[in-house]
Subunit: 174 residues, 2 copies
């Protein structure tokens, strides 16, 4: 006699994302996720191989979410950078996870496609990849440091971001 399904994979991943933002990766326990979707921990193993696989799914869902935000911007380098930063502020733990978990690089590569295109129109085909890496690395590092509380020597952080963006574009125009 079949039992009706009491939860779904998307529900489980959404529960994982919510727990993640509520206090970091340590909050994603199989028991906490199970409770949130109304099931017992062992039942999760019907839909997910193990906790690592679940964490990777959470990272990938976060990257796909980011990809949507970037694609929905006007796709200029400045807008892409600002959308990236807004996303990191909205999901700080999700943002951290994107670089903390092995295997999320693929999904991040997909999300970064508009950056490559914006770089191409700015510096041409020849140096597009290097230029995209320059801008992406800067923004990622900036957000990493901002979220880690590394900007404590004073100064306006918003202004530092805009300054960086401006100098970067100047440097790329050469």
């Amino acid at each position: 006699m079949p039992t009706p399904e009491r939860t779904t994979l998307p529900e489980i991943v959404a529960a994982g994302r919510a727990l993640l933002e509520s206090g970091g990766l340590g909050r994603i326990t199989m028991q906490a996720v199970a409770e949130r979707v109304g099931v017992r921990a062992p039942s999760l193993y019907k839909r997910v191989r193990d906790r690592d696989a679940l964490v990777l799914l959470v990272a990938e869902a976060t990257a796909d979410d980011l990809a949507g935000r970037l694609a929905a911007s006007d796709r200029s380098l400045a807008s892409l950078a600002r959308a990236y930063r807004a996303f990191a502020h909205e999901f700080p733990e999700g943002f951290r996870l994107l670089f903390a978990v092995d295997g999320a690089a693929d999904a991040m590569g997909r999300a970064a496609a508009p950056v490559l295109e914006a770089a191409r129109t700015l510096v041409g085909e020849e140096r597009a990849l290097d230029a995209a890496r320059l801008v992406t690395a800067w923004a990622t590092g900036f957000l990493n440091m901002e979220l880690a509380g590394a900007f404590r020597l004073g100064g306006d952080v918003d202004e530092a971001f805009e300054y960086g963006l401006e100098r970067l574009e100047a440097g790329l125009r050469g």
Copy 2:
């Protein structure tokens, strides 16, 4: 009757760093650290409040180590960036930890002092802080992505690093 000390805090931190590099943060267990220094896990609590405190000590020791490398370079922006990258390649897990653990930002701020000075000589007092943040963010993000395996669209990664450094300096000179 006093018992002779069988280990020391520096020994414990060194064991933590070695375990960290052997396979990531998950390798730092109280039992593994204790075994490495020749003691039982409960004894570690004589020298360390708890696991989180030990992990923070590991991060701080790593940041101090990095500070020494940076200070020993010729302190030009390019040399600082290359020394930073060499350090991240030597201690990839330690590098990741620097931005993953809460409380390590202070020690990182100390390590970054030479970057601020190099930025000052390049762009002047007024914009020194913003410029230092630009370069530090770029290098940190680049290494983060490099270590996460995010550079998979081909292209020479060493060359991308040098390209970024060059464009960054060009942008800062205005």
